[in-house]
């Protein structure tokens, strides 16, 4: 059980970097950028390709960030300059990236077994075990990302990006080119998502063309779970909440995977167990419920009011 929790925490920290990238577009810019489904495996593909050819794993992470910045820029241009709705811009990028990722890897997956990764490098440097080094490296990256983003969001430029997500009329009237702000936000968000892809590929020792499926839903789940459990009073607290939300999500997932029992109804024995392949369904249901909470609350409030009116 402890083992399961530890691995859930370490995964949660790594995935939090992706979730904070989703937070930047979804919450700060207030747009749903689906390109992350292609950018996450892009980061993984670039890093895996370089590491499999004995490249330096840190350089590989930097290259993954660089490639993701380009992808974010393309989505940004599609959306702002070519006026394609953001959902479609994201889908276009994501679809195009599928081919690009295959080109980069040259095949559907690359194994990183026994290759030098950021975890083995830092683990050796500080004489850490496998599990400890994953948590240690994950925390370093996550903390640096949170601090850098917190700093950025509190600069003049960061204020403009936040205001753009809030109210484009206001920030244009204040002399800010909102197209540029959307692009900056998309670039930074995707950089983080690509970095997460690179780190997770190294953690699981392979990159796979299909590993991006469901990225945005996992990101949203972490954002929403974090907000509900830990609040969002300030930008800094909001980001910490998402970091914790990502960990909470991984813990929930690993607990759900433990479900395995038999239901006996009227003589029938129905085995209930959750397979890893069920997780995407489970995650989607969580996010759907969380996103519809405002409507559900309204409905129940309306029913209560109707009852009160009757009595």
């Amino acid at each position: 059980m402890i083992d399961i929790l530890i691995s859930a925490v370490s995964l949660g920290i790594l995935w939090a970097i992706m979730a904070i990238g989703v937070f930047l577009t979804f919450r700060i810019l207030d747009i749903a950028d689906l390109s992350c489904e292609g950018v996450f495996p892009l980061g993984a593909a670039v890093a895996a390709k370089m590491i499999s050819q004995n490249g330096d794993p840190f350089l590989a992470c930097l290259a993954a960030i660089g490639a993701s910045v380009l992808a974010g820029l393309v989505t940004g241009i599609l959306h702002t300059k070519l006026k394609i709705p953001i959902l479609l811009s994201g889908i276009l990028s994501m679809t195009a990236l599928y081919s690009i990722n295959l080109r980069i890897m040259g095949k559907a997956n690359i194994s990183l077994l026994r290759m030098e990764t950021v975890y083995t490098k830092i683990g050796n440097l500080f004489h850490l075990g496998d599990k400890a080094s994953i948590i240690f490296v994950g925390l370093i990256f996550a903390v640096v990302v949170v601090i850098l983003l917190w700093w950025f969001l509190n600069t003049e430029l960061g204020y403009s990006v936040r205001a753009t997500g809030n109210n484009v009329y206001m920030i244009r009237a204040m002399g800010v080119d909102t197209d540029k702000m959307f692009m900056i936000g998309l670039i930074i968000g995707n950089a983080m998502i690509g970095l997460a892809g690179a780190l997770i590929a190294q953690n699981q020792s392979y990159a796979d063309i299909g590993m991006g499926t469901g990225t945005i839903v996992i990101g949203l789940a972490s954002v929403i779970i974090g907000e509900v459990l830990f609040g969002k009073k300030s930008v800094f607290q909001h980001m910490i909440s998402i970091l914790l939300g990502s960990i909470a999500y991984r813990i929930i997932i690993s607990l759900v995977l433990e479900i395995d029992f038999e239901l006996k109804i009227a003589g029938l024995v129905i085995p209930i167990s959750v397979e890893p392949t069920d997780l995407k369904l489970f995650t989607s249901v969580i996010v759907a419920i969380a996103l519809s909470l405002p409507v559900l609350k309204q409905l129940s409030a309306g029913k209560k009011a109707a009852k009160a009116a009757k009595s």
Binding site: F152, N154, T155, E156, L157, G158, Y159, S160, R162, A163, G165, N166, N167, Y169, M170, I171, R172, A173, M174, G175, V176, D177, T178
Partner: protein
Amino acid sequence: MLKVEKITKIFEPGTVSEKIALNQVDLVMKEGDFVTVIGGNGAGKSSLLNAIAGRFEVTSGSIFIDGTDLTRQPEYKRAQWIGRVFQDPMMGTAANMTIEENLSIALRRGKIRTLNWGIGKGEKEVYIDHLAQLDLGLETRIKTKVGLLSGGQRQALTLLMATIKKPKLLLLDEHTAALDPSTGRKVLSLTDKLVKENHLTTLMVTHNMKDAIQFGNRIIMMDEGRIIADIPLEKKKNIQVEDLISLFEKSSRSGIANDRLLLA
């Protein structure tokens, strides 16, 4: 100061829903002018302000501020000269950001945003000073998110944001119409105070003829995208609401019966 030359704006030209919002409008404003704009619905009042602010490009004509041609400049570039308050109190502020963060954005209107801290040294004191002048108690709440303020408070804050960095031209688009009457009065007198203290060149659209008479030094009356009357200070001093209505009936092609103007 402001020179608007024969601007015309046609929405959806060549289609059945073609609409001439502005028709060869000329307007010159001197430094320190406080002009009120009245007219019925669809007369082109807001279109005139939006054309000057750059919400859309005009079909023809030119717009100058202090000799600079703004006609083809995008909206965000014109912001270095122009401060604006919208009709909708939600539109002038960023709801999820705090009062001080909103003011920081306002203080940098028209400037290039850098990677310096959003709120520089000594800026908080400036915000608190200005907020205290609003007399709404906001100076003790600078870390409050703007979304938690009332409509009147938000509109007063927007007014402060439009003027904290002195604009060459202040555009007010029925900025009290969405407020309850007593709050509207407060925001209007605050407007008058800020305009006078800072000697702001101001163009204010209003539906209320009493306000148009009480405030400013000149009244412009619009109808069907044209300016149909321009009343200078000397005439404006003794004018009554009835005079404005009869003037409107005489000059207007659309007539007054269908207009909210009467309710004012």
